[in-house]
Symmetry: none
Subunit: 508 residues, 4 copies
């Protein structure tokens, strides 16, 4: 076709040639068929396809000399000139943003289509910023513990009973005397703002609405008072990382004591040292990020950008049982140890008079091949079944289903915590967290009915079959040091002595 014969081409006609197999573009008012050229373009086909069926004059000219296209393409690829009269707003619209695999955050699927906790994780993996996804989803080393946390629940069978009247089912229970809609709390998880601007506030509002207790992380992205103010009828506990500078932690404890919505202190004891969360290290951190209560700021160093590591520099690795006395002095609130991983330490905690223990391996984020909480729970049954009468026992890590909650409760847990799932649900703000709670409650109710119970009082070990993992329960430890410490505690441990004489005396 010679230029002389060229007819005006309507913009709509140009717009019809917009695929990789049939690609026209307009440059300087000339319509070119660049289909065959796509694969040869030194800059790759994508940038051309972005303007397929459209006017590419501007991006072309930014980079190329004016006659390059004419000199490079055969004459017959010039299809004609654009009919200026046919240009309309639709055709002039800027090309759509690149449709990379990662769905833009504003294209999350409707919340109603998410029907289980896994769905929230899938959506977060697709829509959360890469660093957020890395920080939330990562775990230590080879992820063995993280994955076992879940699989040990899956390896536990139910022993359902039939022909019980399960019309009315009641999931209510109490955690340290506080009412809760179900035996589920929000495990304290750091930096919720990474996934939603409302951060911990959104979680607090959802907890208030749904009657769930929220564990406030020492690494929350909002101050404690703002969080409890966001859900002023809800109950909270505060998760404390004991600071090398004890004065700072004491100030936090006093702030807790003064806040009537804070009902307990969970002192984290499984994070004496930061775990090696490699996915987190591999993604560069945004150094503008900070957490108010520990005065830490994100940074990238020679070892990577691991938020889990760089934000934990203030935590004291020298914390011991004796320091619990110090904690006891600064608050009247119930004290719970978060991160117990052996019956030995559970016994020590019981003997020291603590109010509860949270069996946890920090979501598999600290020490890889540390035991799943469910295994530790079974170890308690074998080694110290009396503990369930003396203190409350909680479990977290790997809880994804209502059946998981029920299994833990059958095996003696007062309640279980969910951490990552709540973070992923916060992707949708308050409404997302509420939807997650609704799902979990619905699943728990269904599971209770289908095993044949209507109240958590009836949740007993006889309803589960742990035969597939029972052989993994370790034998009684005979580590001399452990025994010595245990004996010490049993008789007159320094902690319990000081304890009795300390500020918490009245309470005991």
């Amino acid at each position: 076709m010679s230029k002389a014969n060229m007819q005006p081409i309507a913009s709509r006609e140009v717009g019809a040639h917009k695929s990789a197999n049939d690609c026209w573009i307009v440059v300087d008012n000339q319509v070119w068929d660049v289909t065959d050229f796509l694969s040869e373009h030194p800059g790759g086909p994508s940038i051309i396809l972005k303007y397929a069926g459209r006017d590419a004059t501007k991006p072309y000219s930014d980079i190329h000399p004016p006659d390059l296209i004419k000199n490079n393409l055969p004459e017959d690829k010039l299809k004609g000139t654009l009919d200026q009269n046919t240009i309309d707003d639709e055709w002039l619209k800027p090309p759509p943003e690149e449709t990379t695999k990662r769905t833009p955050a504003n294209e999350k699927p409707p919340l109603s289509t998410l029907i289980n906790a896994h769905d929230f994780e899938v959506v977060a993996s697709q829509t959360a910023p890469p660093k957020t996804w890395a920080f939330y989803s990562s775990a230590s080393n080879d992820l063995i513990t993280r994955d076992a946390n879940k699989s040990f629940f899956d390896r536990t069978w139910f022993r359902p009973r039939i022909l019980r009247n399960v019309k009315d089912v009641n999931t209510k229970t109490k955690i340290l005397g506080c009412d809760t809609t179900m035996p589920l709390f929000v495990s304290p998880a750091a930096m919720v703002k990474l996934i939603h601007p409302d951060g911990e506030l959104a979680v607090a509002r959802a907890c208030q609405t749904k009657g769930i207790m929220q564990g406030i992380s020492n690494s929350a992205t909002y101050p404690m008072k703002d969080i409890t103010a966001a859900g002023p009828q809800a109950n909270y506990f505060f998760q404390l990382y004991v600071n090398k500078d004890r004065a700072k932690s004491a100030a936090l404890l006093q702030e807790c004591s003064a806040n009537p919505r804070i009902r307990a202190i969970f002192i984290t004891v499984d994070a004496a040292w930061p775990g090696k969360r490699e996915a987190d290290e591999r993604v560069r951190a945004d150094e503008s990020l900070s957490v108010p209560m520990s005065s830490q700021r994100a940074q990238n160093d020679s070892r990577g950008g691991g938020l889990g590591r760089v934000m934990s520099g203030f935590i004291d690795p020298a914390l011991t049982w004796e320091d619990l006395v110090w904690a006891r002095k600064h608050t009247h609130l119930p004290l719970v140890l978060k991160g117990v991983m052996s019956a030995d330490d559970a016994i020590l905690a019981m003997e020291a008079g603590l109010d509860g223990i949270l069996l946890s391996n920090h979501g598999g984020r600290n020490l890889d091949t540390s035991p799943p909480a469910l295994l530790t729970l079974l170890e308690l049954h074998k080694r110290c079944p009396e503990i369930f009468e003396k203190m409350e026992v909680y479990v977290d890590g790997g809880i994804r289903r209502g059946t998981d909650i029920l299994k833990a409760v059958c095996l003696g847990a007062t309640a279980v915590g969910m951490g990552r799932s709540v973070l992923f649900a916060a992707n949708y703000g308050q409404e997302g967290v509420e939807h997650l709670f609704d799902i979990m409650k619905d699943e728990l109710e269904g599971a209770m009915r289908l095993v044949g119970i209507t109240s958590l009082d009836e949740a007993r070990p006889e309803l589960v079959n742990t035969a597939d993992i029972d052989h993994l329960i370790p034998e009684s430890a005979s580590h001399p040091y452990a025994r010595a410490v245990a004996r010490g505690r049993g008789r007159s441990s320094p902690a319990s002595k000081l304890w009795n004489g300390g500020a918490a005396k009245a309470r005991l």
Copy 2:
């Protein structure tokens, strides 16, 4: 746009509107925008899309009356008339053959090429409507129980004996006194019409031909009388979901009692609450679907389109052992509990004088991580071996091979049920179900011969090796409530008392 204003539209222009998001077709020279209509087309969108951007007059006229399109579409969907001068060879080319993965329903492979139960499932996955596939194949939560149902059979080894005369092999046995060609029955499965218009009638005809007992689901898509009329020489049992409105269930029981082909009542006890079948929830239900015997109708609600859930609203979650007395009053037929999942409840059923129990977890569709029936069967051997002398024990879930049937019978089962496989075979109507039965009988005969037996009397536990799963058999439960109930039953349970004095007395 009024007809008067319609301009001729070039064929090239029509051809540009050829996607699901922008679909024009030409019928009788008129250009219609049918984009919005695609999802509503009773015949599905595919057939229209085949002619997107083209002349659809011929296929349209083959099926529809001339004015249908005009009467159904808004006037503004008429875009104009086709410019006859612009028609060229390219535009007239017949539409390309469909390249979608999903084979059209009329392209099922010939029945003779299906040689095992798995094949039927594969074909159904490719040819059944998505909702049907979702409803039939789905199971609860993470599908752990569904998959274990099968794998536990695979983990059971045979201990074959040699040099036995296995020339003549006999698979015949009896179920509750009724002759059956082999120890296999059709487990009651809902809504067979979803995969074939003949639905349960096709199954009944096949059962009659092949001498197999059919369990009629309370959620059948045909009335009971039509089903038994379709196979008037066959034997049936009726699967009852006890209705919150007992009168309705009583009416069904009485209908059963009056129907000479109904030989037993299987009361479902593992579905006090609907399981969470997520694949089913995620696909929208066709709200025109109904089941006659429970007067339920499909619907989509805020939680999804789960047929398994919305169709089960009438089932009474308050059913207890005491209600069996009520059932006993309304029928003289043998009573079997469908859905026993523990030795504890099996013992209660035995003590209550029931005629049989079907060890079942509802195909893994109700409570995920409920135990495979094979494990419960082994639990009976450990806990109450005498039960096999007192009542008939059936098994379903995961049966896919003749070897599976034989293993269950070796371990004491009177017969086993197949549910999903029969649904998948019904894809081919009566003939498909007959073919499935032929395959199963052939496999069973081969397995009997190859383990060295010729009659099911010889099928004994010594012929199988369950060492790989024996460690999963739970210990005796010591749940106080269970024990109390069991003791009660052993002496003078309300059920057995009323029972003896009730309508069924003569029978006992």
Copy 3:
């Protein structure tokens, strides 16, 4: 043919010789038959085959001096001159690019590049005709037993000893008194001709060269006398399927007795009924195929084209222990039962005075989930360790490595059989089977040295660790029928009575 007589050959005629089995090329207008030269071509056959049936002058001249072909090929390979008048465009077209995935049979990789038994299987899967591959590789149902045959060896650990002088290692042993280079024999496998025209003859020649005993299948594609004549110094045993028409089997037994190279009869007892080998059924059989010794012919029926099934119709499913007396009458040769799968039957065989048992599940081809031979071997250790003193015990199924051989021998096996691997090696004819034997011997020697032994006398159970599978060994069977039979045999079984008074008396 002298040059003087050479007639012009039409291009079409040349073009007809274009396969690896019949390959002509034209160079400088002369037509050469290079079929026999293909395998000797230093540049490999592929480049010649690219020009099969065509003019290769150009590529030939690019590389070779003009007279090379004439000097290298025998004169009779010169077929004539190309008739120039017959050259047309079609014939001149450049050779097609090679595209097919399936390597042509004549493009098997060089034998020297195959370094283990798996390699032979890979090559066969790529180069054998589809039906051959289906028949050889298939196994029953879901292939559970076939795969376990191998994996149970992999789950068995060695316990190697160090600092033994392993300079000289000796793999020699005896099978029923016959010398063998190593404790390996060819398990009788049907229809070797499917993969190579020399069939069982090639195997016999390789066995003779390498000092290995060959089991001749009743379904061999050559008559027994031809096979033993092919390797007249080798030792053989004959695998007998007892025919419904006993006279035919008696004739075979008498033929065996009269053939001095036949050293034993292995009566197959694990194939009372053909297994369901689905891959075999799905591929249509070539109905021209026949096996001489059982007078069977391949056919396709309504159930498929399973060679394993249709070729086995003559086998008597009514065979019992009593029939062994019949067998004993017709031959003086040692009698071995092939296909023992339980200690119970092993004990019966021992009590009946048989010469040996081959623990086998027919390569997983008959009853799926029948136990791996290695598990049965362990059962013998648990149930009747004295058996190893009384008779020879062989194992087959899953042997792929020299380490597998050594493990079986450590656990008491006299020797092991390989079936499929030999079939796959026969893909390369005699040379391939020899290469396989060399590999196995090399692997066995290496394994012996590395566990610290130099003679098979030292192969003891202490050198292996079967802890990973020990829990799968079944308990003693208490099946009443089994016990009765066992007792009968122990005292005065009909078989042993008749036996003692029968033809074999002198031998006993």
Copy 4:
């Protein structure tokens, strides 16, 4: 730099800036630093990098307008003008075609982005020459042992303790009296030069810097004296393959004795015969390769190109316990057996008075299905726990994590060796090996803190849970030969007798 000041830049100087981190190009005689621009280039960085350090005028001009670069880059990126006099043929050579998938060695990712031992393996798999990768990564047969070496560590759980003061952690320990920064040594691995020209010298330098003991392989690609000279403050042990020609080994022993940096002799006893490393066999060897201390040279033979095999021809398969006496005579250095795989041989070694044993299966490279060292370590606890008091016990194979080191030490190992990982790290020369050591130390410290200990004295069996593999520990062997030998040794084995009277007497 203003244009006025620009000095001519030599082509060699330009050529030095040729990486993604430092990329200069010449366009129209001007030298530009485009490093920062790479990621912004619309055409992607690859096309620019193709001309890194070279003249890109031609490809630039083909596509871009003349001034684009000047207008787009900051002024300070203009480095100067090319000195035309320095242009030579080398510099003008066209850039190499990109063809290989394998990333060129000079495009290894920056060392700082490698954060664990796995990363080094991944990079080596992508950048090492194929033969090097095959030789280093290969293992025997089906790789069962190689993979189990790692998985057995992964199947071992920790039992972490909490609330211990873990502020200061000390990984120091001693190996045969020599200080080491941590309980990790370099397992002797052959032919380091295959991956880096500095070979064993780079390893030695890294060991000196980081305080790690290096095992020098008999098959090192540098002479012993050069290696110890490269790291003159480090400690070494020498790994001896005893030569068929004892004089050659004696000479090596004497050389060791005379070298003050050599602290022990590890005699390899698990390689009496070369393993079948198939990946190694399948890749052709470079026949120019040699190793000085064993005077071997690589070659390809009819069985393949296995370096592991052809380089080991000199090793004496006739080595026995008695030969240890010979070794004892030729050196005063501590003697350790490398390759013990059973408690039986460990006991013999203890009774013979050796200084240590290295539990090893040669990285799974010799006998497939030989036991993982961790299993042998557990066997020692079961069979001869006293051994840990009598001699040092080391472990290698599968160590990839600091947690692996700690588990081995908890179970009684004095130290563990890493072989392959060091080879892969040597890909980056000395710096890479140092980085690997830093990673391992960091992981070990983290693991110690997170299980609650600060010194390796506290590493006890109670801190690990081996329940998942305990059932695999073999029972006590009762092999008569083993017992006889053991008894012999226990009383008056030839070795211990000669030993006492031999050259090493004073030492004992």
